[in-house]
């Protein structure tokens, strides 16, 4: 199994989720994060104090899926999250040693 972590632009969340749903991805976990990278942020000024943090709001998706499905998941995210503009984000894939569904105790692919 794979554990896929994707960082995307917040307003793309719905699109990505729909695309993954169409692919048969049943679940995912979403969190709000701040991203730091090439994309430059707006400068904020408060009474003369200037902050240009380059920390931009992003959304992180975490998706556990079977090895078989993983390449498609990555591709689907890459395509549906893209705006062709800097700061679109990344998809990272890690190996997942095991997965357990808390409710039933099932493990492996069926737990996802």
């Amino acid at each position: 199994m794979k554990f896929i972590i994707a960082i995307i632009k917040p307003f793309k969340l719905d699109e990505v989720r729909d695309a993954l749903g169409a692919l048969g991805v049943a679940g995912m976990t979403v969190s709000e994060v701040k991203g730091f990278g090439r994309q430059k942020g707006q400068t904020e000024i408060y009474r003369g104090a200037e902050y240009s943090t380059n920390m931009l709001p992003k959304v992180k998706l975490e998706i556990a899926c079977s090895d078989a499905l993983a390449p498609q998941v990555v591709e689907t995210i890459q395509q549906s999250a893209s705006t062709d503009a800097i700061g679109d984000g990344k998809v990272f894939v890690l190996d997942l040693a095991s997965a357990t569904r808390i409710r039933t105790g099932e493990t492996g692919d069926t737990a996802l």
Binding site: F11, D14, Q42, T43, E44, I45, Y46
Partner: protein
Amino acid sequence: MIRKILCGAGAVGMSLAASTAAFAQEAAAAAAPTVDKGDTAWMMTSTLLVLMMILPGLALFYGGLARTKNMLSVMTQVGAVACLAMLIWVGWGYSMSFGNDFSGETIKQFISNFDKAFLKGVTADSTAATFSEGVAIPEYVFVCFQMTFAAITVALVLGSVVERMKFSAVMVFGAIWLTIVYFPIAHMVWASSGLFFAMGALDFAGGTVVHINAGVSALVAALMLGKRIGYGKEIMAPHSLTMTGIGTGLLWVGWFGFNAGSALEANGSAGLAMMNTFVATAAAALAWMLAEKLAGHKPSALGFCSGIVAGLVAVTPAAGNSGPLGAIVLGAVAAVICYLAVTKLKVKLGYDDALDAFGVHGIGGMIGAIGTGIVYSSALGGPAGEDWVMADQLKTQFLAVITTIAWAAAGTAISITVAKVLTGLRVAPDAEREGLDLAEHGERAYNY
């Protein structure tokens, strides 16, 4: 309880004194109306109550309904356009609305002349008449009171166009709209030479001038501006109903400045307006929640808040023109119809009135204006006399409503067009997506 034309008593005295000796004496009497400090105290309090409706009231009510990324934009637009309105009011607004009559018979029905521009002739000693013979209030207090009405009305319009309209466009729009829409309609309704006033239209505290006017203008502006990106697809839930709740409370409290203040005196009529403003609102809040329940949904906090505002809007023209039971019915009916307007009509027609300025103020204002022609009846506990005829009154009310709608729609179309030419009107899609707080003001509302 229709408002008479109000003017600096000093000026009146002087001009009259010129004619005949007999008149001069009368004028001298008229020139020294009693100014009761109780009235002055109440009218200053009322003025501040209306200010509190704008800031923080409306800014929070609207801001809470917006998304986080546009919170500051909403608050700033509301506040800045209100400030602009105050300066313009002092500049030419007061004169156009409550100045001296033009000599032209037609034009004087629509605006007054510019003699009082920049408050020329207004002093700490000049006074403005009230509804009671010989009772006046300091003219500065009247100028301030009416100023807050102008300021909140233009701010109300913004409810439909937030989250996408440029700040510069808001300012340009505000300046033109006040001049060609608000000041004339205020004159028509409240000046004795005004069109609606002459017709005998009932509007205690500005249902036509403020709410129908703002609501219709908001609708036209929203149509001309187009929908927000993602409207109907993305989640656009209110970012903080807590803020909307605070705003609702302050609007209710402040609205008594509007309604009971419109009596211009601290008297029983103000007391009646207060009573009605309590019960119509209470009834509307519960009626809206009940309507939600009957429609198969949960009675909601936003429903409660919306009901409060719908009730306040509806009771505005009726405040001193109804008995409490009439007001209760009026509030409840308005809430149910506004509920339908906001949840069904808007969806069907498909326009994006972001914060429902039309659905609540426009529709609620119309119900109130027409309804006032009904609850005024003494049979329903209203203050109408024996020989009052409901059908006639309703015709008058209807006419005033229609005229206001047409005037507001046309004037808004012009104002928005000019704003578009000068500023571009709408922010770029990227700016809209990022939020107007960062894009237009360079700040975030929250840095937790």
